[in-house]
């Protein structure tokens, strides 16, 4: 569900951006590259067709990573653990699942009302978060949900930031106007927070500081890692599995790397390699997490 929410926010930002002249080329290519495994040829087919791109991203049954498929899987998961989640959480996921299968969604998404549909699901994603927050007991199920949510969020933030830097040819020495970064900040729901917290015009450094190191920004990598740390500590407290220490060490290395890194140095390092290594480590941690908690 976290991925759906992130994807919707990115789609919404890009959709609105694509309507503004001179700001963005309007191509959906970067978004399709981030969220799908389409071949180069197929990406070219969709990249300049807003409605085709939106359909593929959100509704296409053949796209494993479409919002529709993710919601379906989330519903299956929820159905399987109904004894661990509240009735309200189950009902919210179930209602989103039925909503995305209603015919009007497809029709409207293919029309000038596409934004209405994106907003509708974005709103439901946030209602889902609120329902879980209000009704769930802070026990094992809650912490498992949080682990998944923040692992996903840290990877999403990382991938989107990497993509933005790639669009800047990884040249962070060249100072860029805020408009060049606005897409990333809006996609991470951090534009207003950025304007409020950072004062100088060194946007490259400040924005990377916000999205990677800011412990108070809910979409930063460090914030997500700190949340993972809290839930992981609770989950492993009474777990004597021999694989736990290795999982903790793996996570500790990632968290320490970000926590104790000099934020000011980020524009001077090889940022491409940095992101690649961090992504590899996060995926490795995620794999170990799955192995420990969900494999039998």
């Amino acid at each position: 569900m976290e991925r759906v929410e992130d994807m919707l926010r990115v789609a919404r930002t890009h959709y609105i951006y694509s309507l503004d002249k001179n700001i963005n080329s309007g191509t959906w290519k970067p978004i399709l590259q981030v969220y799908t495994d389409l071949s180069e040829d197929k990406t070219e087919l969709f990249e300049n067709d807003t409605y085709a791109a939106l359909h593929y991203l959100l509704l296409d049954a053949n796209n494993d990573n479409s919002a529709k498929n993710i919601i379906q899987k989330a519903r299956e998961n929820a159905r399987g653990v109904q004894d661990h989640i509240t009735r309200e959480v189950w009902e919210e996921i179930n209602s989103i699942y039925h909503l995305i299968n209603r015919p009007f969604v497809k029709l409207k998404l293919a029309s000038a009302d596409a934004l209405e549909i994106i907003d509708l699901f974005l709103k439901h994603s946030m209602i889902y978060v609120g329902v879980a927050e209000v009704t769930m007991q802070r026990g094992t199920a809650w912490n498992v949900m949080r682990l998944g949510k923040f692992v996903e969020r840290s990877i999403e933030t990382l991938i989107l930031t990497d993509k933005q830097c790639e669009l800047h040819a990884y040249d962070l020495g060249k100072e860029r106007d805020i408009t060049n970064w606005r897409f990333l900040l809006l996609s991470l729901a951090g534009y207003e927070a950025y304007l409020k917290s950072y004062r100088s015009t060194k946007h490259n450094q400040q924005i990377l500081q916000q999205v990677i190191f800011n412990p108070d920004f809910p979409h930063s990598i460090l914030y997500s890692l700190n949340q993972i740390d809290r839930s992981l500590a609770i989950l492993i407290k009474e777990n004597s599995n021999p694989e736990v220490p290795e999982l903790v060490r793996t996570f500790g290395r990632i968290q320490s790397r970000i926590q104790f890194m000099d934020p000011g140095s980020v524009v001077h390092i090889d940022i491409k390699s940095f992101f690649a290594e961090l992504k590899r480590d996060l995926l490795d941690f995620n794999a170990k997490l799955k192995l420990l908690f969900f494999s039998y």
Binding site: L19, K21, N22, L195, K196, R199, S200
Partner: protein, 481 residues
């Protein structure tokens, strides 16, 4: 006839410049929008109209009407069909406004220092001496970079000859820019396909430009400049705009009670202690700004603020005392100012204006009232305006005696048939009169305009009064290439 498309029912007014129609044909700039709208029916347009209203309501872009002790939230009327201006027309408007602002800014610098323009007899001394907005308290104050008019909204109208004229200058705290931005956002929702295929210039960078102008006013020795927007508070009709701009720029929105002056410096009271303010973008009028200098009973101002301003320890945007330059009587002399300060001919012309302090002009105005509009020089927002062709005999007798008692407070202008644009009202497309308020930002780097502005619409049939306080609405304004 029953199957006639709603667009085909449009009948524009005689002897009026219609923005969409050139006598019988659709103007080039409207042809694409016209053909796209042709694909929509009345129901579809009505749905978009309804959606626009809901979006404004949900975002809190409303004002409250009190009835039987109950507050009813109303949205400012928005017409969904955009007003379109060509890139070449815009280039002329842009040049004209930049020229005008340069002259007005030089006038303000002059009038609060050497007053050379008075010594040279270009502007009458009496006119300035009798101007209630001339602020003697700021005489001699040096403002950063000699810029007085940081933010302005110059009201333009298009006459029946198709030319743009300046209706009035707003150099104090012009409002409405948030509507320009929100109108565009709403258009993105209701007509995304038309907008994306119409080559419309973007206006979204306005808050960034404004923030840059405010930052540039701070001395380079200040490493972490602190900017605030000073609002009169939640009951101000433009409060939504104050919060909007604060959010879009990431600056603090403060009220007078949040500020304090100590040792000629202004501070904001924060939970971490006092924090020095470098720039105040004030949305509070001059006379309320400092109770030690202006209105003593003002609760909207900050005691001691003017002394801080005089010391150069804070920049106030717009400068204090700008009202003298947008006085409706001083307006008449702006073309002369342009020639005097810049040695150029005005690019944008004024509307012919009669100063009623001149006995001949007064006599003419009183005997030709049916062809004139009389404006109170001390009021704005459409208040104090007399439309000579619609005023009742009784109202006129009352107004006339007031004008005769104090003619300096009035100017008269011929009633100009403002241009019309197509509006979607009550399921029909109808012509309505409009003006245009482009917004300009004047900083150390020069004067910049965002390509667009607020088109204000007189929603009542035949009305020429576009002010929102008088029942006017607005439209998204597209500058297309």
């Amino acid at each position: 006839m029953a199957n006639e498309h709603f667009l085909d029912q449009y009948v524009h007014r005689e002897n009026t410049w219609d923005e969409m129609y050139d006598s019988k044909n659709i103007r080039q700039q409207y042809s694409h929008v016209f053909s796209m709208l042709k694909n929509l029916d009345v129901d579809s347009m009505s749905n978009r109209h309804r959606l626009a209203g809901e979006l404004f309501l949900n975002q809190g872009i409303t004002f409250t009407v009190y009835n039987n002790n109950e507050g009813i939230e109303r949205v400012f009327p928005f017409d969904i069909i955009p007003r379109i201006i060509t890139g070449s027309e815009w280039a002329e408007i842009e040049k004209g406004i930049i020229q005008r602002l340069k002259a007005l800014n030089l006038f303000l610098k002059d009038i609060y220092s050497n007053q050379q323009i008075l010594h040279d007899g270009i502007v009458p001394v009496d006119l300035i001496a009798s101007c209630p907005h001339y602020t003697r308290e700021v005489y001699g104050i040096k403002v950063p970079y000699d810029i007085y008019v940081h933010i302005s909204g110059i009201d333009l109208i298009r006459g029946s000859d198709g030319k743009f004229y300046v209706l009035e200058d707003n150099l104090r705290t012009p409002s409405g820019v948030s509507y320009m931005l929100e109108n565009r956002d709403v258009t993105k929702r209701i007509f995304p396909d038309i907008l994306s295929t119409s080559n419309v210039r973007s206006v979204t960078h306005y808050p960034t430009l404004l923030h840059e102008v405010l930052l540039d006013l701070v001395s380079s020795q200040v490493s972490d400049p602190y900017i605030v927007i000073l609002t009169p508070g939640i009951f101000n009709s433009a409060y939504y705009e104050h919060t909007f701009l604060a959010k879009q720029m990431g600056v603090d929105l403060v009220e007078s009670r949040d500020l304090v002056v100590d040792n000629h410096k202004v501070y904001t009271k924060t939970t971490k202690g006092l924090k020095q303010v470098n720039v105040i973008y004030r949305r509070v009028d001059d006379e309320f700004l400092d109770p030690l200098v202006f209105k003593q009973d003002s609760l909207l101002g900050v005691p001691g603020l003017l002394s801080t301003y005089r010391k150069g320890n804070v920049a106030i945007v717009n400068a204090v005392g700008n009202g003298v330059a947008d006085d409706k009587a001083v307006y008449t002399f702006v073309p002369e100012m342009i020639k005097y300060y810049l040695n150029e001919e005005p690019i944008l012309n004024n509307i012919p204006t009669y100063q009623l302090s001149d006995p001949d002009a007064l006599k003419y105005a009183l005997s030709n009232i049916e062809n004139l509009v009389i404006k109170n020089t001390n009021q704005s927002g459409g208040y104090g305006m007399i439309m000579g062709n619609t005023i009742s005999e009784r109202e006129w007798l009352k107004a006339k005696s007031e004008i005769e008692r104090n003619p300096r407070n009035y100017v008269a202008q011929p009633i100009i048939q403002l241009s019309t644009v197509p509006c979607f009202i009550n399921g029909k497309i109808q012509p309505r009169h409009v003006d245009l308020r482009p917004y300009a930002l004047y900083g150390p780097q020069g004067i910049k305009l965002v390509p667009g502005g607020l088109t204000r619409v007189a929603l009542s049939e035949g009305s020429l009064v576009v002010n929102s306080s008088q029942g006017g609405g607005s439209k998204d304004t597209w500058i297309i290439d």
